[in-house]
Symmetry: C2
Subunit: 458 residues, 2 copies
């Protein structure tokens, strides 16, 4: 009854699809954030739901932790094997199973990445709009309730996941939800698994809602005198129900870096990067209204681009901001935060958080999914400098506390994992937080599913 | 340790706000569907969350059922006291507590009705779009995951409820969610309570998302040769991402009744009733595109009305369809169904279900929230004719089974209550259905919250 005995029990079935080799374990012990590498004891590559069920049943009997792994792009240590055990890699469960054109949905395996799905959909006139930046797996995105730049228009994984197949801790296979667009049919198990970060069950199939590729797309950029003005323009846009597809705040430091990296000449000021989806006439009308709003709040040089190559260049520059920043600060890397507040508090939360940074210490940059009240303040640190790392941690904690005090959440989209767990009781209140722990124990009495993450007593 | 002892324990605190009088009990024993009147043993009118907590704590100790009651408009027997106990009336918890104009949300007590909230919002430029027809309470709408005609554009209560205050079975008060637009912060307790039909906790405060009142609204009607054509036009509209605010299917029988009742002269054929929200230009463009689509699929006489009085008349006619039908069949009343299927199966499901009705027996009418794949086939029965009631039940059950076989749900929006419970295992699979029961027991070990409804072993 141990991790070792679980691995031994699985070896005959999985053969060369189970590995305890050091290099493989190391590869699955890494993470994209600040958590020390913590390799699992073994990695398994299942090919079917039944094989996932076999792993769960076996691990449940032997008391062996299971960590589900999609693309490994998580930022809050969801995938590190803090208590050892077996990492389930979904590399081989990466098929788009069904695309229902008329119903505008698709059924995929957890290892399918969002870009892969969109490549598959290209000819259909449909697309999957959730875009967290990284080419994350749909399974991982469902498990962490991911979102990104298009959430302001198309929602997050919370709104996108219609149905799931899930392997429970004891190996039972259940289905939740359906392909019907709405339902008043009992507890919303789908939404309970979405965002449960691998602690309640292992997602083996996901039905996602798709959207029509818009007839016309245009993008716009606009410089602002200050961040308040940019945020006010966003607020007003949302209040007027202009259905912007993206509306991103990019601060002056990022603009400087982007100019240098992508050979652009934007004024070094806070900017909004905006995208409009709709009919030709609709997109033009949206751009006109938003252009007027931007001027009203101190925006200048509002420019819009409907040519694909101009748009692509603009968003490539935005998406590459992190590389741009890194190029500007060689040897340094970003320590990310993820506050999300009611939009009326966005400017205040962001500006106070920037003021926290002691002058002459860390460079801070801000990218914000402003339409959702979500922003990422990142500190550029030298990872080998313990003082800088400690300062970044301390500043990030202050942001989390400020966010909670403003009625927001410590995680808009990155999740809790091991990084934000210490704020859960404060954010939710102890009773709600303990209730999450009770749900966890009901679903996974032996505590084998992603232990050490998200919930109390895990 | 009984219902009586719980009532006795509460009397000193509640005084004349607790009643065991027969007429009051009868009033709270009724329901708007086909379930026999089943009065509670007492009715309590709390005024604060703390009083709800006191009731819960007391009932939990004494093993006394609690049934939460908003406006009493439920259609699946959610509010009948099948095991006796205490009905909690939210008549006195009916305040709009906060309206956050900039953040476009409002915090309300559970007894606030949707019309009351919209009246309150009139001057703000905002509105609450969820419209199930009846003037339901927001608490009840959250508890049953209500939706209605505007869901195709604005979502259902699933998308509208941002945060809750909930009294648990043992009297603990918890808060779930926040006013942040998105979150990746642990289990989605909010979504778990939404649609839990009073079986997991008692909702005492609801934060709902609001929307901007559109600059322009126009409505349109169009007659079709057949239901398939109308459904195809809807499908195409959705696939082209035309953001229709409502798109309702009304069958020929309903049209005949509406013509007679509302003094209108629509051709006696299936119709779509459509509403567009947007800018002046946007609404005109939407109407033009949808008009073309309708023609393509056999629609004729597409007319659109942007004058408020014409629109109001149209929707009043649609909303009064039930009275119109009743006027056409004196002494009869509707037995409602609530199937929701993937839209590709909508026409087939609807037409097969209509064919089920033996000729010369019940008159069947159809109203459909076609954009969501949801329709209500209603049988006009004489409630005192046991044969007709039995036939209606049998036909409704066939619809539920057909819906499940087509990958849909037995309830698009009315909920499960006691009426649809027998289909839960079939729709969700036994394992998922049992999991709902486990959640119920975790939240409410003594089984006092709305017993006899929704989940197994309740």
């Amino acid at each position: 009854m141990s991790i070792e005995s679980a691995i031994d029990a699985l070896k005959p079935h999985f053969g060369d699809r189970i590995s305890t080799g050091q290099s493989v374990r190391d590869q699955y012990g890494r993470n994209e954030a600040w958590y020390p590498p913590t390799p699992p004891d073994a990695v398994v590559w299942p090919e079917t739901t039944e094989e996932v069920s076999l792993v769960a049943r076996t691990c449940n009997e032997h008391g062996c932790p299971i960590i589900a792994w999609g693309a490994g792009t998580s930022l809050e240590g969801h995938i590190v094997a803090v208590q050892g055990g077996i990492t389930l890699s979904f590399d081989r469960m990466n098929k788009v199973l069904e695309v229902h054109h008329e119903d505008m949905d698709a059924v995929v395996q957890p290892g399918v990445t969002r870009k892969q799905l969109n490549d598959d959909l290209r000819a259909t006139g449909l697309f999957f709009p959730i875009d967290p930046g990284a080419d994350a797996s749909i399974g991982g995105m469902a498990a962490t309730r991911a979102s990104g730049t298009c959430a302001v228009r198309y929602g997050t994984m919370r709104e996108s996941v219609m149905a799931l197949e899930v392997v429970m801790a004891d190996g039972k296979i259940i289905r939740t939800g359906s392909r019907a667009r709405k339902a008043a049919n009992g507890y919303d198990l789908t939404k309970l698994f979405v965002g449960s970060e691998g602690t309640l069950g292992i997602i083996t199939e996901i039905t996602v809602r798709l959207h029509a590729q818009p007839e016309a797309i245009s993008a716009a950029i606009c410089a602002f005198e200050d961040i308040e003005g940019a945020v006010q323009a966003v607020q007003q846009t949302i209040q007027m129900s202009i259905p912007v597809a993206r509306i991103e705040l990019v601060d002056d430091v990022c603009i400087r870096a982007i100019n240098a990296y992508s050979d652009m000449t934007m004024p070094e000021a806070p900017h909004l990067f905006i995208e409009f989806h709709g009919t030709e006439a609709g997109v033009a009308e949206q751009a006109e209204i938003v252009g007027d709003l931007c001027s009203e709040f101190g925006g200048s040089g509002f420019e819009w681009a409907s040519r694909t190559e101009d748009r692509t260049r603009l968003w490539a520059a935005r998406h590459n901001f992190y590389y741009a920043i890194k190029a500007m600060c060689p040897g340094r890397t970003g320590y990310n935060t993820d506050a999300c507040v009611p939009i009326s508090r966005l400017a205040e939360c962001l500006l106070e958080s920037r003021k926290d940074v002691p002058e002459g210490t860390l460079m801070a940059t801000t990218i914000g999914h402003a339409g959702d009240g979500n922003f990422h303040l990142s500190y550029m640190i030298d990872p080998n400098d313990a003082t800088e790392v400690a300062l970044a941690k301390q500043l990030a904690d202050r942001i989390s506390e400020r966010t909670i005090s403003m009625g927001g959440t410590v995680s808009g989209e990155h999740g809790i994992g091991i990084g934000k767990r210490k704020f859960m009781a404060e954010e939710h209140g102890d009773a709600a937080w303990q209730l999450m722990g009770q749900i966890k124990r009901t679903f996974d009495p032996a505590g084998i599913l992603n232990p050490g993450k998200l919930v109390p007593g895990n």
